[in-house]
Amino acid sequence: MKLTRRILMGAAAGSFILSAGAATAQQTELTFWSWRQEDKAFYQDAIKKFQAKEPNISIKFETYAPENYQTILSTALAAGRGPDVIQVRAYGNLETIATPGYLVALDKNNVPELANFPEAALAAETLRSDGKVYAVPFAMQTQLVVYNKKIFKDNGLNPPKTWDELMSLAQALKAKNITPFGNGTATAWQNETIVGGLLSSMLGKQFEEDIVSGKANFTDARFVNALAKLKDVSQYFAPNFTGVDYPSSQQLFVAGRAAMFAGGSYEVANFKNQNPTLDLGVFPAPVLKAGDQALVATYYDGGYAVNAKSEKKDAALKFIRYLATPEYGTAFTNTLKNLSPIKGIKIEDPITQEVAKLTENAMSYLMLVRFRYQEPSGSVLLQSNVQKMLAGQQTPEQAAAEINKGIATYYKPFQK
């Protein structure tokens, strides 16, 4: 492990020296690190468009595997190196990099385009301790239910509005030997996406407010009852769902063997890539009783930041200002089928339009947005306790109590 770190540090140092050496006198060359190897073509295109405006700046786009990215990046930054422009994550993950002062703080002066973003998007890239923004946000993700329109049509079904409709719809599909939900719970983080996709409307915005203000905690009836409903609907998940991992659950849906998939809006592009013939739709978490507000759960993926140790900060800032324009946001959204949070973008893809519409009524993807700053993280608690509950090894009350107990170890409002 230690050896790997040294090698990575060496590699990072090496690439830094090489990139610095390649820059010519009048030409400024920036390095730009990302974990999105699959989006390389898109980024190279965006760089070209940027260069049409700024011919003196060239940008080298480099990617690392997502699971190692954070480690490689923090190692390089700790050594006083790293790229000029950095794709960073959000919330707690951003803090590990921003707190030690590795990033340039952004404001209306050095990046006037920050005005193009909604508050919540900037909050995702803000360090809580100093209230400053450290990155230009790039994508908003939404937890909802993706469904196979063809299966629904063949069986004369419509997207359910209420929880009871969802249950009878799932029952009808199961009776016809169609797996209602492709979802499985063997991969821990899938439990959190399932909660976000299915339970948001039953939890409600008020619940989030009460959690933040400390009026309610996770033993609240709204949370416990929603978990009980989840336990109830899990009978319609993939067969043997406790042993079905993330890739297998995706395969069930992509192959058209399952009608619905509770998860992120990012799945849509993913499913379409694997099976372009799929006709997909999305709907928000079903409400408890007709008339309640239907919600999705949203969060921001990450942003583009500038390395505080970079010697080419001006050029780097010019580039991230470009990454904050509606022009870039439109290209991002339409090429990657991922919703850019920039105001005033034009969306072509119909499903992305649908997702964008749903996000008008949203609560936070609660644990990621609020409780991923300290150990034990709310996400880890939610994931393992929901997994345990769905495996039938604890009741919804016990799961809620465990989650609450873990968060209460550091969250002041729960300690009363």
């Binding site: 707690g92 990099i97 030690p100 043997n240 297998s248 997994q387 170890t409």
Partner: protein, 310 residues
Amino acid sequence: MPVSPKQARTLKHRSWVAFLVVPPVVFMSLFVVYPILSAFAYAFYEWQGLARGEFVGLANFREVLFGATMAPTVWNAFLHNVYALIALMIIQNGGGFLLAWLLYKEPFGFRFHRVAVFVPVVLSTIIVGFLWKLFLNPNFGIINQALYSVGLDSWAKPWLGDSSTALGALILANAWHFVGFPTLVYLAGMQRIPSEIIEAARLDGTSEWQLLKNIVWPLVAPSTTILFTLLFIGAFNWFEIPYVMVGLDGSPFGSTDVLGLVFYRTAFGNQSASIQNFGLGSALATLIFLFIVVFASMLTLWLRRREIQF
């Protein structure tokens, strides 16, 4: 003063020895000793991501061993390591011993089997992990399919999703992967036993069981020493198979969590926790290291005592 031929020889010999010894010593110090010592030093500081904060003395060690948040996870993982050690001792090393005995008796096609048993050891652990994950898939996996086809439907399980079978499944996958190694070591050990000893025992009419228990087993004690020690170290450093098959969280709900996974999550963070804590990670790594060094040495000394010279 003129150098005598003898002194010249000594000098030549010494420079030759230095030439051979210095490069590996430098290499080891740079890439093994220095990282271990620096990890040890890291453990005494508070960390903000990868930036070193204040000196905090033994606070990280206290948190790892007794802290309300960390300790339950660490001890839970530790017990799983112990469980894996015992199970692998029986299945992997015990199975290796029996396989070696079968091969030693040179049954039909033993040359082929000798190679076949060792082939999985050569495979990459990543491949073995994915292979077993496929075998154990509850819906398309070969294991459940086989059970369904012989009518044992009630035995079919979501192996890796069931907290009562997941760790066992990992242990079996690991045993399948590595059983060839103890087999080969034991086989070499058995072939070192002078054949007259075994022939004499046979002439005296010992049963197969007595032969194994009273003659072969004691005489392969040096092999046992090395295999048990290596397994001990391997079991407490266990990481790859759990990481590939159940992920960083020791899914489902921590029932397959082992110290290697806890260390990785603590030091480097995972997607669902975001927090990288090098202080706690280094403290845990140091404790694992000390535990392995102390107990592996004790185990070796103890096992050495029962070895017989012949």
